[in-house]
């Protein structure tokens, strides 16, 4: 197929995926007023008869999706990441507990969202959905992987949450190079033995930039796109722990309970290994341009490379 425009946000990939999975008649799309933002509008324009508008009422949307799933449909329900959280208990009790295949997409997640300010910048979504039994949690880094991973959700069975980003990010995948892109499997984008950087979402691009900077200083790093936060690719983490002996996580998310938290839980229980986390500290965001904001909260390539050096130092101090 022809490649989409070069510069896209992961939410664009979600929108394109909905069109590609539309051939499955079970697929339905639910919106809560923000279809133009989440990009479910693409599906609506082609398949209005399978698109359900629920208005500004997220709690109702989640249970309507559950009811449709119980009747054989595969619902994809989207709104802003932050507003999915309004319906957390509906997702927990109404979707996940009966194990219904409802796929929730929260767009505009993270500090990266920018000038709308802290009310829109969900920085806790990955953590809270990860705590729900049986829930798959995904945060792709670009439009191509968001598209592919969304397509894979159709056959997955249980419930899922995917965070997409509002703003454009550099593309890390192309259609000819996606065999290794699988839900639950981290994608190794760069190889190096000194330190492993596990990143998700918009931080993947920064992790690669950090790896390039580190390489200039003679430090070679492995960079992984950990698009799936749950189930976590524990085997890959074990291999990287053995190979590099120290790790860094990078996420546009609070440092509690998200990618960093998940990796820390695994390592501390199974393979104690020096780990540094790059993420949002215990604070809310604020309004501002995306680049300025990311700098202000420390989500930068420099933040990642400094964390990598700290992790390496701790490893060296132990050995």
């Amino acid at each position: 197929m022809s490649a989409p425009p070069e510069s896209c946000a992961s939410r664009d990939g979600y929108g394109r995926a909905l069109l590609r999975i539309a051939e499955d008649p079970r697929v339905v799309v639910l919106e809560a007023d923000l279809g133009k933002s989440t990009k479910s509008c693409l599906f609506r324009s082609e398949y209005p008869e399978r698109t359900v508008s629920l208005g500004i009422a997220e709690q109702n949307m989640m249970l309507v999706a559950a009811g449709m799933a119980s009747s054989g449909k595969i619902p994809f329900a989207s709104t802003f990441a932050i507003f999915t959280e309004r319906a957390f208990e509906q997702i927990r009790n109404g979707i996940a507990r009966p194990g219904l295949p409802v796929h929730i997409c929260g767009s505009h997640g993270g500090i990266h969202t920018g000038s709308d300010g802290s009310s829109a910048q969900a920085i806790e979504d990955l953590a809270i959905y990860r705590t729900i039994p049986g829930m798959t949690v995904i945060h792709p880094c670009d439009d191509i992987s968001a598209e592919e991973l969304t397509i894979q959700l159709v056959e997955m069975g249980g419930p899922s949450y995917m965070r997409t980003a509002r703003n454009k990010t550099m593309r890390q995948y192309d259609y000819e190079n996606m065999e290794h892109l699988r839900i639950g499997r981290g994608s190794v984008l760069r190889e190096g033995s000194d330190v492993a950087i596990l990143a998700c979402g918009v931080m993947v691009e920064m992790a690669l930039n950090a790896a390039s900077d580190l390489s200039d200083e003679g430090i070679e790093s492995t960079v992984v796109d950990m698009h799936t936060i749950k189930p976590l690719d524990n085997q890959l983490i074990d291999r990287l722990s053995e190979r590099c002996g120290c790790l860094v996580t990078a996420e546009d998310h609070i440092t509690f309970g998200g990618l960093g938290g998940a990796v820390a839980e695994w390592l501390s229980l199974n393979r104690p290994t020096p780990l540094e986390m790059v993420g949002v500290a215990d604070r809310f965001g604020e309004s501002g341009g995306t680049d300025d904001l990311m700098e202000a909260v420390g989500l930068t390539p420099t933040g990642i490379s400094n964390a990598a050096k700290r992790s390496i130092s701790r490893r060296n101090a132990v050995s």
């Binding site: 009422a57 109702n60 009811g67 054989g72 449909k73 509906q90 009790n93 109404g94």
Partner: protein, 271 residues
């Protein structure tokens, strides 16, 4: 299968006995709201609801969503009397490993169409079932039972608005208007006012009925099943604990099981 009034009356009596027996055996549960709802559920299952005893998961069955999921004893009693659940199933209610969970749970019980326990969600779920049925070109109906206290949840009104917007003519909601919620009488906790007028103002067809007069209940269920212009709400005026004198209109039995002595008295009254 369409049961006669006598048969419905007898089934409701047996269901009431099941309700007090299983809550007593469990030592917990919600008899009050089960007893207020049971005539409505027996009338629905005994006349209009399309389902298969030997195939509870039949795809094109009508759906029954017990949004007030704490009235699970009523659900299990009906499924027991219909032959879907065994005596041993209902008497294991609330015990470890039982398919009869404390609140109705579709993941545990064949014949249960919804996982309840958190109020305010069932109408939305039922709307999803109703929209899916229309997409499939099926005539199956979706019945939802909500508690009157439950309508204090805002999500109920999100669903009421959405059902009207989507013209869910196959959605039929029964409100069990027993006037009591967990802590005490509804009017003391949060007055809900003219519930029929509220649904009407949301664009629904509404009728009120005496929820314990089985002939009237069957009549209004028939009306609801055949009304295909708007979503339908039935406001059923009921008595919490109906059928057991010391439970009737008594907030204490919202969420308290009968003791062995109380069980004996109840079974005498239901003999």
């Amino acid at each position: 299968m369409r049961l006669s009034l006598d048969e419905l009356t007898e089934m409701a009596r047996k269901c009431r006995k099941d309700i007090v027996r299983m809550t007593n055996a469990a030592g917990s549960g919600h008899p009050g709201g089960s007893l207020s709802a049971i005539d409505l559920m027996v009338a629905l299952y005994g006349t209009n609801l399309s389902f298969r005893v030997d195939e509870p998961e039949w795809e094109d069955r009508d759906r029954f969503i017990l949004s007030k999921g704490h009235a699970s004893p009523a659900m299990y009693a009906v499924l027991h009397q219909m032959g879907i659940l065994a005596e041993s199933d209902i008497m294991s209610f609330r015990k470890l490993g039982s398919i009869c969970q404390g609140h109705v749970d579709m993941r545990w019980t064949a014949g249960v169409d919804f996982s309840g326990g958190s109020l305010g969600m069932g109408m939305s779920f039922g709307l999803g079932c109703a929209i899916a049925a229309k997409m499939d070109g099926s005539n199956r109906l979706v019945w939802v039972m909500v508690g009157d206290g439950e309508t204090q949840e805002g999500q109920v009104w999100e669903a009421a608005m959405a059902a009207s917007h989507h013209n869910a003519t196959n959605l039929k909601v029964i409100i069990d208007r027993n006037g009591i919620q967990n802590d005490s009488f509804i009017d003391a906790q949060m007055e809900i006012g003219d519930i029929a007028a509220k649904f009407s103002s949301f664009g629904w067809d509404v009728k009120e009925v005496d929820g314990h007069d089985l002939a009237s209940v069957v009549g209004v269920i028939d009306w609801a099943a055949n009304t295909q212009e708007r979503p339908v709400a039935i406001v059923a005026n009921t008595i919490k604990g109906k059928g057991v004198s010391f439970m009737e209109n008594n907030p204490a039995f919202h969420g308290k099981a009968p003791t062995d002595e109380e069980l004996g008295l109840a079974l005498e009254e239901l003999a």
